[in-house]
Symmetry: C2
Subunit: 106 residues, 2 copies
Amino acid sequence: MKLEQAAKQLEALGNPTRLNLYRTLVRAGEAGRPVGYLQETLGIAASTLSHHLHRLILTGLVTQERQATTLICRANYPVMSDLLGFLADECCADAACSPASGEVAA
Amino acid sequence: MKLEQAAKQLEALGNPTRLNLYRTLVRAGEAGRPVGYLQETLGIAASTLSHHLHRLILTGLVTQERQATTLICRANYPVMSDLLGFLADECCADAACSPASGEVAA
DNA sequence: CCGATATTTCGAGAATCCTGGAAATAGTGC
DNA sequence: GCACTATTTCCAGGATTCTCGAAATATCGG
């Protein structure tokens, strides 16, 4: 079910700490950010950060790559793009909501 | 804080029942749907629906209007549009993410 | 192999959420 | 005002979340 997955991703972003975390990663771009850097920047316990990071990774919104002892985290753009696509398609909120995909009212 | 509000709205949508509910309202368009209709369609207890509806209304994603004894619920497009705007602006996930708003990496 | 650094897992407490039934409230029509 | 329908509020139980500290794990440099 696509809806279930979208809900999970929205829920993952629906927490101030995680949304802030995700935003930080998006702004970091392709370079990504090490976990330790994020921990200092966000000012939360390492275990707490690990927990939130895990949730974002589970939904696919964030990926990790190991570089020696540090883990680099990156925002996974395509997944977010998919999510926005779902919202536009299923829950279109724009005035330009054309009846392109799926019956509008049956 | 805009981030706090965005997180609240994302959290409101981050539940399968509520996302489905919201989608139903979006598809209903300007006509909206009465609470009772939603309750039958979604197949959940009236009190449960009322609870979820309340959350969506608190975040501004849904509005209600009374028509005699029934309450008509409608998706509040501008709020969703604002939310998508925030995501595009702060957490841009598109390849076309230009460095228009805010420093990209400082 | 050992010490050092980076990160996760474990355990736990407080808070919040989700769900539904029962009772209360709001509004209508007579 | 009264019966009636539509909806919300109250209550409660079970599940999940959020947060952190302490301990465990992983990787590197020597």
